[in-house]
Subunit: 342 residues, 2 copies
Amino acid sequence: MPLVKEERQSMMEPILTVTPVQEFPLANEGGNRIWIKRDDLLPFSFGGNKVRIAWSFLEDCLARNCDAMIMYGDRRSNLCRVLSSMCAAAHIETIMIETSEHEESSRMPFNEKMIRLYGTRILQCRKDRIADTVDRAFEMLREEGKRPYYIYGNRFGTGNEGTAVDAYVKACPEILQWESDTGNRLAYLFTACGTGSTLAGLTAGMLEARSKVSVIGISISSRSSERAESCLNKAARAWYEKEGRKVPQKLEEALHVETKYNCGGYGIVDQRVTDLIDRVFLETSISLDPTYTGKALQGMLDYLKEHEIRDQNILFLHTGGLPLYYDYLAEKALPGDTKEAE
Amino acid sequence: MPLVKEERQSMMEPILTVTPVQEFPLANEGGNRIWIKRDDLLPFSFGGNKVRIAWSFLEDCLARNCDAMIMYGDRRSNLCRVLSSMCAAAHIETIMIETSEHEESSRMPFNEKMIRLYGTRILQCRKDRIADTVDRAFEMLREEGKRPYYIYGNRFGTGNEGTAVDAYVKACPEILQWESDTGNRLAYLFTACGTGSTLAGLTAGMLEARSKVSVIGISISSRSSERAESCLNKAARAWYEKEGRKVPQKLEEALHVETKYNCGGYGIVDQRVTDLIDRVFLETSISLDPTYTGKALQGMLDYLKEHEIRDQNILFLHTGGLPLYYDYLAEKALPGDTKEAE
């Protein structure tokens, strides 16, 4: 007898709840009120923006009548963990293509551990062999009688940019509703920016709603401004095309990614960021991680100061990534043993 | 300039949100509908029943005009972690008395690690020296000019049972509201039972509301039935006394703890429980832990079968304990490396 009933769609329906916005008691010199939207609390697989995005991919996969999913990412990937979890619940086969350069560290990151526990098969390859490995994953699944879906579109990883973007276009009404319910008009909305899907979605969603909020992404990788902006633009345009909407003239001007707060590149972090993570955890119980949210929050604080932004309502989107916080904690050495023997 | 503003009470106000109830797609032979109340999602310090209970202690501490807290628990204690977190946010000094017998394992449990990160001072002692160590903690804090509060009352750990119980009396209206909103009338409500505060609170709360639901605790420790029932009774009566209410005649009959599903004692677990944890995680993304929730859920399934309970609505309270899931995951060996080299 199976543990779990067949109709498990019901388990996934309630995951896209409206997440809370809390006042974030961060001191800042400009007298701004800083708010935090807790997308880290989305009630599925430890939360995070990837829950909305994975849901968007899964809906697209089912709409295309596919029954197997191919994904691509780093071994620390939050998206691949949430997708693996959602697909396991939906009984959809998964293959992950993974190109991480493995460090000497013997600890397996929690996301990779969970991806494996969910039964996702991992194909490792060099970065110059991704397209071939996508082909191979398609073949493997087709030989098993499956109809595979690759989240990034074709073998070169293009053609499906709009699907991930859509997830955060759809999240914008929640934020607008909060503004309207509380009377707090936002001047800025900040988020971490990796691939840019979340940022593109927020920007397009706010433009569509004729909101005046400035949406700013803090890049957490080593992408140049030009490359980051070009990816963002492409992603946003893909969404307009997918939806059959006219691209607004203001789009290019509205897409805004800051690359100067990246600490030197993906996964690189400095002491200011780790100090911020520890202090935010101590003072608020909110966990940030060094790769995405901690770096983005420090970048936001620096941006507000450098641009002398004062007396505004500022929203920081907490994009989750809880397993990365536990990685951070597992590797953290404690400052001095405070044990006292009786 | 401090990171965090002084008025940080605002960070703690929104933590007692109404938690979702989801249908839990657990197959069971009796055709029961099983629901899960996600108190693991309470939005503070990784959630769990201890968020409600810690909040109750903190309110009591402040009401008594105290400004330092003494707590007692195991190094894996969820309560001590949440209390440390809440007190750090409220700038309240904390001392934890800890009597764990330390195993040879070199890994520090995540809860202990966080308790230390929050700045809680830890006093270790033998189990026969707790009262003396409570005295010592009081002295230390008084010498620092503080007014200490001990969560368990006097030096023998009695006199404050009602405060923790109150947290789950106050949670009962949420469950009743869910029944009324959905039209699902519950026959049984199950929860893990350690000290019994949660179970006593649910039982008293349901009695006060004249609900017909049977509240059943699955004991996760080696306490005998007699000892578990006596503790429960004491805790529930303390709540009635504290509230100045008459103890109902039905109380003793309504308090119900099952001790046969404890796998042999606190922290002891068998393969059925770990298999259940892995399968629930795989199929639903919900994380259970071996010490409390996993054992309690297996106990509930066994109870339903053994008592031939059929065609009923059953609610399982997920009491959280996420750091214990990560401990479990950190120590878990993966079944075979599925990596394939390209």
